[in-house]
Symmetry: C3
Amino acid sequence: MQPSELPGAIAAQTLLQLRQQAPLVHCLTNDVVQTITANMLLALGASPAMVLEPEEAAQFSAIADALLINIGTLCQQRAEAMLAAIAAARTADTPWVLDPVGVGALDYRSHFARRLLTLQPAAVRGNASEILALAGIVPAGRGVDSGDDSLQALPAARALAKDCGAVVAVTGAVDVITDGIRVWQVDDGHPLMTRVTGTGCALSAVVAACTALPGERLDNVAGACRLMARAGRLTAAWAAGPGSFSSGMLDELYRLCAEDVQ
Amino acid sequence: MQPSELPGAIAAQTLLQLRQQAPLVHCLTNDVVQTITANMLLALGASPAMVLEPEEAAQFSAIADALLINIGTLCQQRAEAMLAAIAAARTADTPWVLDPVGVGALDYRSHFARRLLTLQPAAVRGNASEILALAGIVPAGRGVDSGDDSLQALPAARALAKDCGAVVAVTGAVDVITDGIRVWQVDDGHPLMTRVTGTGCALSAVVAACTALPGERLDNVAGACRLMARAGRLTAAWAAGPGSFSSGMLDELYRLCAEDVQ
Amino acid sequence: MQPSELPGAIAAQTLLQLRQQAPLVHCLTNDVVQTITANMLLALGASPAMVLEPEEAAQFSAIADALLINIGTLCQQRAEAMLAAIAAARTADTPWVLDPVGVGALDYRSHFARRLLTLQPAAVRGNASEILALAGIVPAGRGVDSGDDSLQALPAARALAKDCGAVVAVTGAVDVITDGIRVWQVDDGHPLMTRVTGTGCALSAVVAACTALPGERLDNVAGACRLMARAGRLTAAWAAGPGSFSSGMLDELYRLCAEDVQ
């Protein structure tokens, strides 16, 4: 069965709710992408914060509307803060999202990510290699960029979603988003997004923001993918290269309206 | 008593001195804003450096012209480096500035910030919620963005300035700057500044640079607020959104001249 | 003997090989410049990754095509990861590059950098003050910006290259690149590059990428200097200030073609 393209009306609804609710997103993310992550959330109307000391990370997760866990530059201290934040988030019913950067190629983070999967993430967002690796399939990638195709990873994504009860988003040239049963597809991105560091990581932060919204979680996560892909395509239509793309995509996210995504 | 608007001639004087002296600013700041902080200092003609290992942080504070302490992503190792740097700065008569990001909402940093207040900062720069919290008034904010009004926080800012001997700047839609007796007001910012991460944190770094200048410290700190607010307003006049604003504000700071701020 | 200007054909060859091979560069770099480092590598067609936990850093260095060690925000944990990564790189014959940020002015990093020199770097890229300090000559700089002239540092660079078997690049208004015997010069940069944080650090990452290319290492390292200087000059021709320069240089690197550098 081919997945269906996400209806624009759903993404429009996600956008409106995001602007109205302005969710406060606690981001425990990698060192390379902190700025673009914060700026993309701000551009869309959400509110980012990064709180790293374990004691505070736990206190803040209980206040925040959503928690992002991105293991791109994982180290022991950060891992400790992540576990404290997730525990507090679960107690407070704050949804949390996993971005399993580089899982499969590297052992330390792979073990850590598998442990996190037992802690009931609301959503998981990765590229095809990462989702295949999380599902226990031998990875093809060397680094953080996926050599695999999102649609090929759909069976693994479905299995992962059923196993851990999360919405799983596999992103790439095409995005597929599944809760294990239903599947949405978003086909709207642009290759320039792969020449700017942090677009995938920032998408995971937007996914986290959208898990805090009311309504169907599958729809909201797919909506997040569509908003980012659409802003990327609008920017690529005029950007001269990755520098103007990176800056321009913030402008497009800021101006994005319901009509743009329908 | 209403505070008086800072005369443009004072801000122009601050700008000229900043360009002539090119102060070397040691920034112990949060992980999200390091790049924009360094770039805003460079654009204005100052010289930033970030030195993190406690032993080196102390050695460097004695060489630098000013020290910035921003507790946005405080952790134990960074706290240790901050204390070593402040101790060395005080011995060397290097002025140091506190940016109490998120104080009030989170206990670990609130305790740490109160400890820092006993170490004679030259200036404190925060939003209304943070200044109210430092002054012992129950905070209204959940995160790093202030729900309170700068002018409402003026009595707290005056009390704080008197208590710790620092110039206190409360920034927001309007900025108020006080040494506990005199008060300047700067009314020149733009809401787009709140949609870019790090503009407030970078302002604190510019405040630190300006505490190294000769003349009245109150005037120089208020001058720093005016320079940044003015560059922000000039940029907002043409920026298409937060991406072009962030990049454009660096250009405006670089081109800013005495006439612009008068 | 005056060094000869690098022939454009060599830089063009470096560019073509860089795009074809797309080397995967493991960057252990300073906190301030991680984003611009990743983005400049991506713009040129290389593939960056930052892996920090010592165990993983070692595992990843064996997979990567080159390793960058930048000591700008050195701390004990990072130093440990760097040593593990270098050891694994040497075992796997992965070339590694040293950027000795701030060496000379600060003791902790100076001792560490001298220790690293015994571990056979493929290349060292610094400003004149840093190269003079590494060669044991008393430094003139206070911070990370060099007060010395690249050509004055050439004898020190030659001696350093012979001592540690690395290609040494001294960059500034003019760049000189030597393997201890031959010397290339690149005279193509622009002062605006000194008003944007991380251009030198990102150059070191591009140098690392180019040590993974086939052919003469001296030529490839000098080629890296020329590519970055050329993109900088092309950008400075139209940039309005450091903000548009920073973003624009990514666009120019992305569009750079063999004709541009010849």
